[in-house]
Amino acid sequence: MLAGMTTNVVFGLLRLAIISAAVTAANGEIADYDIAATNTYVWIGQGLLGFVLLWGNNELAERVRSGDVVVDLYRPWHLQGALLAQDVGRGGFAFMTRLAPPMVFGMLLFPFQFPDNPVRWPLFLLSAVIALVISFGVRFLVEISAFWLLDNRGVYGFWNVTSGLLCGLTVPISFFPEWARDTLWMTPFPALLQAPIDVFLGHGSTAKLLLYQLFWAAVVLATGHLALQRAVRKVVVQGG
């Protein structure tokens, strides 16, 4: 865990340095990000990364490939719901171990933009939890693609490579050219990281951001549910 934290902090410092240099070069502000907002953005992002678990372990896909998923399917539960419950539980622990430490680190060592209104704290928490649910939903879709592909490592790798940019982890979405920004906000990806950060920083309308997140949470969970229903029909149990 200490090693994980070191990696997290090192990459946080690197991203912070580069974005801060860009902000300085632009006379102190790019798209509502000054130095304090940049710092806040980077450390919340580094924390949310582990809390929403942007990059999963592809375990379910491995179970599909090996056939162990049959055991999961014949249990008297709704597989997606059960895994979601597990993931929310994991999030509870990750809140203490992954989300809070980088945020505290940023608050103590760098200029930090605290919310203008204390109500932003619970709203941020709410937004982060919805982000976790959406992140679970997207990972679930990536994993159950293995029912059709058998080997989903291509899809999984693709998600791991692109998600950092699509979700606003590496550069704030508002730094993108307008067409890219508008396109990205039409996808669920900014809901995973950029939306909670925007709620915390007070960028954009908070109510709109939360509604946007709720909408995508419903869409990805429903898609996952329907996809699983179809996938189960394809499962063939061999041997006995």
Partner: protein
């Protein structure tokens, strides 16, 4: 004997990967995309600004390309070291020790993944673009420097990889820590080092000699003064730094292997 075995081992590994052509193609493309990640970040940042740390877009792209090509080559040969914790934990490292070959070269040729050439290809394309779009007073010496820089950089990164992974002999689950240094230094060296704060710069540019991968050679090529005040000839010293780094890495590896204890069977 070793001279005959290594080419054979490498050739066997390469052949085995060409068997699944579609899978190879997908892997190759995803590696090109992985390399484009930082490129997109640079382009997005430069859509908002004209200069980063006093360097223009194409100058930063040159540094990024040098760093990317060097990292790609290092990843090809030294990336396998990421499997070291597995070798140590499962005891397969014993097998390597029993063979009459060096442990480090054995690991390096154990799993050469050709798809990683995708990274190098992406970086070389950007390098060609950047070199043709920045102002350089070409001399024969600068041509040699351009060719030597990615090679020296690859040796430096590989040395970093070896040293960072050696920690796994003491902390078996040290891989994530090692990755902070290896992948971290790739991200670090893609940008002019004067944008970083002093402590970060000291660690990542001079203790881990990341500044010699792309930054100083680029300054020498561009004929620019170092904003941090080091003299111009520093840009020509990367091969020496690489040799030094490789020596240190070799010594650290030997020291580390001596501390290896099998986990039993």
């Amino acid at each position: 004997m070793a001279d005959v075995i290594y080419p054979k081992l490498i050739a066997a590994k390469l052949r085995s990967q060409m068997v699944y052509r579609a899978s190879f193609a997908v892997d190759f493309v995803s590696q090109v995309m992985a390399q484009s990640y930082e490129l997109i970040v640079i382009l997005v940042l430069f859509s908002q600004i004209n200069a980063l740390g006093g360097f223009t877009k194409n100058e930063v792209l040159l540094m990024y390309a040098f760093a990317g090509a060097a990292f790609g080559v290092a990843d090809l040969f030294a990336g396998q070291l990421d499997n070291l914790p597995t070798y140590i934990r499962t005891g397969t490292f014993d097998v390597l020790l029993m063979r009459p070959l060096g442990t480090l070269p054995q690991i390096m040729v154990s799993d050469i993944r050709l798809r990683r050439v995708g990274r190098i290809t992406g970086a070389l394309a950007v390098m060609a673009y950047a070199l043709s779009h920045v102002a350089i007073d070409w001399t024969p010496a600068k041509i040699v420097l351009t060719i030597l820089t990615p090679m020296a950089g690859a040796v430096i990164y590989s040395a970093v990889w070896v040293v960072a992974c050696s920690i796994c002999f003491w902390i078996v689950e040290g891989r994530e820590f090692a990755n902070a240094v290896t992948y971290g230094s790739n991200a670090f060296t893609s940008y002019p080092i004067n944008v970083y704060s002093a402590p970060l710069r000291w660690v990542m540019a001079f203790i881990v000699p990341g500044a010699f991968v792309a930054y100083y050679p680029s300054l020498a090529l561009l004929g620019k003064e170092d904003p941090l005040g080091l003299p111009g000839w520093v840009g020509w010293t990367s091969p020496l730094v690489a040799a030094l780094a490789a020596t240190v890495a070799g010594l650290v590896w030997r020291f580390a292997v001596r501390h290896y204890r099998g986990t039993g069977s």
